[in-house]
Amino acid sequence: MNQLSVVHLLVLVVRRDLLLAMRRRADVLTILVFFILVVSLFPLGVGPEMGMLRKMAPGVLWVAALLASMLSLGRLFSADYLDGTLEQMMLTPQSLSVLVLGKMIAHWLVSGLPLVLMAPVLGLQFDMPAQGLLVLMIGLLIGTPILSMLGAIGAALTLGLRGGGVLLSLLVLPLCIPVLIFGTGAVEAVASGLSAVSNLSLIAALLMLCLVFTPWVAAQALRISME
């Protein structure tokens, strides 16, 4: 039988993309370094006053994470598009939505997860309290997959266009604003002695929505772009 089960197919696609990422480790590291660099630029720009830095930290980290994931999105489909493997994937007797979901997961593992893991270290540079760091990490953990998923739609729509990278950011960044607001809101809530649960559950709700709809939308976008 040629049709694979959803889990089997997801495993295949994720393994493939992770293997490719492992062979191109430099790309992954570049994004991480970019993230660290952007975050480190802020104190240089606004001055080393700790009170202000502490207040700014969640916003700075989230915006830097947004920008870093935009950078890596350009390669999500375009590398496969240029060498023809994307074409072949679309011709397999498998659900394109599941294939796309697999690529989203792999993208997050490669470019989102490292940011989540790096965030607390950078948070310490900004003198964030331990509880704030924990909430920041949880927020990033459930928020960065949303960036990968919304970004995949933009990446699929801008496939093969000149100036695709800048255009991609223009299309995707406005859509990511809710995640940014709830993500930073959660940290601020904890900082002012409130519970972060409402903010975090809103991100989780967005994540669920994205899981249901974005693979299908991105698959349609791919079909439009491949014509």
Binding site: N2, V13, T85
Partner: protein
């Protein structure tokens, strides 16, 4: 049986072809002819479902391929201008992954023997970026040996191949036709499959 009726296709506002009809039965082979820019590749890509035709329909054993999609894709093998191989992966990994995604279980021994038949002995485990153009094309062509697709859609399969490889491809196509397969292809080089007659479709 692949049936195309009254197909029209345009790129931008340039009409490539219209009123095109063709039928391909088991064991038949068809060459699409025409100068550059006459829509050969567009026709093959339309057959694969990438391009939505302006008019007309394509049916596979009586059913519209738009409705079949995944069923149809299971019987289709497409070889395009791009080799569809990843530079970072070895020939073996490339073949195994593409077979895996097509839903074909392919153990290492089978994959290696397919690559060897295409003359890639000793190069199975090298990253494909160190291979020559012709060798990379051979890796792509190894997909013809795995799987059970009935319809082969080959866009310029002979590009960058040497004489020996061309003979091999002709042999493979002959075997495929002998097993009641179908082939539709384009080429600018002569291709002879034993004494099998190649029907020709000219795009003007």
């Amino acid at each position: 049986m692949l049936e195309v009726s009254n197909l029209a296709c345009s790129r931008g506002d340039h009409l490539l072809f219209s009123g095109l009809s063709l039928t391909l039965q088991s064991g038949q082979i068809m060459q699409v002819q025409g100068e550059n820019g006459k829509g050969k590749t567009s026709l093959l890509r339309t057959l694969c479902g990438f391009i939505l035709p302006d008019e007309g329909r394509i049916t596979w054993y009586g059913d519209d391929v738009r409705d079949l999609s995944e069923e149809y894709f299971a019987s289709l093998l497409y070889l395009g201008h791009h080799n569809a191989i990843k530079d970072e992966l070895s020939a073996l990994e490339n073949l195994q992954i593409s077979a895996g995604l097509a839903g074909i279980t392919l153990d290492e021994r089978q994959a290696v023997s397919a690559l060897r038949r295409l003359g890639l002995k000793g190069r199975e485990r090298l990253p494909t970026k160190v291979l020559s153009q012709g060798q990379r094309r051979r890796v792509a062509l190894a997909r013809l040996l795995v799987g059970n697709a009935k319809l082969w859609v080959l866009d310029e399969p002979l590009t960058a191949l040497d004489v020996g490889a061309v003979a091999l491809i002709q042999e493979l196509i002959g075997e495929h036709l002998g097993k009641h397969g179908m082939v539709i292809f384009t080429t600018h080089q002569p291709l002879v499959i034993g004494d099998i007659e190649i029907s020709r479709l000219s795009l003007l």
